[in-house]
């Protein structure tokens, strides 16, 4: 099970790094998706090697998470479009309105 977790950790770290370093809002969103899927991978790995593999509960979690993530991606994209409209750019550095 360790290899799965390592892949998952790598996937999460890559996604997190993308979220933190990318300037393009869409690529930030892509990073968020990678982090989400790292978590999904963890679910599946823990279920497959867990105490009760016959219960299918890990898969159920993941299927729901994917479905919700699809909706979340739609919301995220809408947000990106809104920010783009507001700031006239896709660059997240420009969206610094939270600074007091």
């Amino acid at each position: 099970m360790t290899p799965y977790l390592i892949v998952s950790a790598l996937l999460f770290s890559i996604g997190f790094a993308g979220v933190l370093t990318r300037r393009n809002a869409i690529l930030v969103l892509v990073g968020v998706e990678l982090m989400l899927n790292a978590a999904n991978l963890n679910f599946v790995a823990f279920w497959r090697h867990g105490p009760n593999p016959a219960a299918l509960d890990g898969v159920m979690f993941v299927v729901f998470a994917i479905a919700v993530a699809a909706a979340e991606a739609a919301v995220g994209l809408a947000l990106v479009i809104a920010i783009h409209r507001h700031c006239r750019s896709g660059n997240v550095d420009e969206a610094s309105g939270m600074k007091g």
Binding site: F16, L20, D93, A95, S96, G100
Partner: protein
Amino acid sequence: MDRIVEHLWIIPALPLLAAGIIALLKRPHRKAAAALAIGSLGLAFLVSCVAFAATLHPAAGAGTVRLTHNFAWFDLGESTLRLGWLLDPLTAGMLVMVTFVGSLIFVFSVGYMAHDPNFTRFFGFLSLFAAAMLGLLVANNLLFLFMCWEVVGLASYLLIGFWFQKPEAAAAAKKAFVTTRIGDLGFFLGMVWLYHGTGTLLFYDKGAGCLEQGAIASLVAQTTLGGMAVSTAISLLLFCGAAGKSGQVPLHVWLPDAMEGPTPVSALIHAATMVAAGVFLVARVFPLLGASAAGLPADGHVPHTAALAVVTWIGAITAVFGALVAVAQSDIKRILAYSTVSQLGYMMMGLGVGGPAVGMFHLLAHAFFKALLFLGAGSVIHGCHGEQDIRRMGGLRKAMPATFATYAVGMMALAGFPLVFSGFWSKDEILHAALAWSPSRLPFALGLFGAFLTAFYMIRQMWFVFFAPSAHPAARHGHDTRPDAAAPHDSPPVMTVSLAILAGATVAMSLLATPVWPWFHAYLGGHLDHLHVGWDADGAVLATMALSTVAVALGTGVSWRLYSRSATGTDAVERLVPRLFGALRGRLYVDGFYAATVFRLNRAAATAFDWIDRFVWGSLAGSTAWIATGFSWLGRLLDDAGINPGFDAGCAGTRGTGRLVSLFQNGQTQRYLRLVGGGIVAIVVAVAWTGKK
């Protein structure tokens, strides 16, 4: 009967209403103003007549009619302030006189003030005056009387200074106001003391009023400074107010100067009504003045108390003083003014020696003939185009016949010509009472001398104005030389009608107080039902009549002889006794004396206080300010050196920390996430590290 006294307030309310409406009228509404003023006072006259009729028939055995109506005005803490109306013969007689004379003078004013641009304002003031005067008469409460008294003073001030653009008029108004205020201070103190002593200011309140047996007995019983009864002290304080208002020596100085006002004002306020308010006050509080250890003064018997003695002496001195000064004046109105001072002295003397009936009859009689004389003088001034100096008149007998005839009636009444003039009988009563006054015969002698002088100065005035060869340029040269020198003319009917009515009233009043039928005495004394026609006078009455007739005849004869033979332009008395005449012309230097003493003292005190203010208090205040400034400098130094740097350092530290911390906050989510990520990594590493051990 009770309904009448309950509604007595209508009498002062009518002119008050008129005054209020006139105050809102615009200047050009002259007719409306005059109609309102005359109409309201005429109505008040009718109501007064009804009230007068109610006092004519006392209930059997009740003596004087005395109707009161008291009501609560407002509560002050525990005590209730109560006002009331009072209707007795004293009030009723005055009400009829004031409204009657007032109406006639209002009518006269329409003619006299016809060319004045401020006609409307004039009638507003007159109405205000009438309202206050009538309020003063109906008051059954000394406080209400005092309030009206002050409003009367205000109206007098406004009307003396009616032509305020004339500096003399403005100064005279101020003088009148300030001088009467000195008397009013005494009045006020007396009132406060009376309230303190009796707990009420109602005159009559079913036995609980301050002029009734109980209250006065307690006041007589207490003594104050020098063993004087409290009732005497209060009486003297109240008399101060009366003396100020009624121009008694030594507070008379304002009255002659008050002649700067329009002549109808002089007639109404400074001859007939307002100056009589002081006499009325003394008559009103007569029970207080006459109270002695023996009790209240009974009807027909006048006690000898200290307060009444003061009233008598002041009155007698004023009577002679005014008459003496009047001899040497040359302004037609000023002569009448000093004559008023003198007659007011007679009234006071009458009150002192003979009680209210004697003093009040002279007041009422005087009101009619003095109003007549003043209006006559106004008519003369009007006809002579503003000339007031009698030496520059003369020969007006032919030019102004109506004025001459009525003026002669007034003159003879004032001088006390026998039998058909009210002035003779009223003065005679005073002299008769003075003759019977046991403490001293001197007031009687002074009164007799005053009667002689009165005849003397009135004849002098008559001669100069009506008989002397005309001093008028138009009459002398037979043609007009200057446009303002038009020949004297008689006044329009609106003025002469008033004169004729007043002359008639003057003669008619003489019937009311003869020894044959002493109606007025009986009316005021409350024994009308015992009145009968018949001769029951004793020898003293006859002797007084004879003596006063001789005095009048002597005054007339001497004056006529002196003046009819002298050349125009000079005064016969002046030629005979120039120094005495100069002293009299200078009003016996009373004004000068005040200027030299009271004014100078006042000015010196003001200068001294100014100096003290400037240097003592000023420097004290200045040094205090310097000390305060020193302390503030010290405080500022401490602040600058000690407290501010500490604060500054603290602030700089805070600012630096803030700047450092704010570096992390740039509004970018990624930066924050980066910190969160770093934090998590650090925690994970720490957990893993510790978990390993």
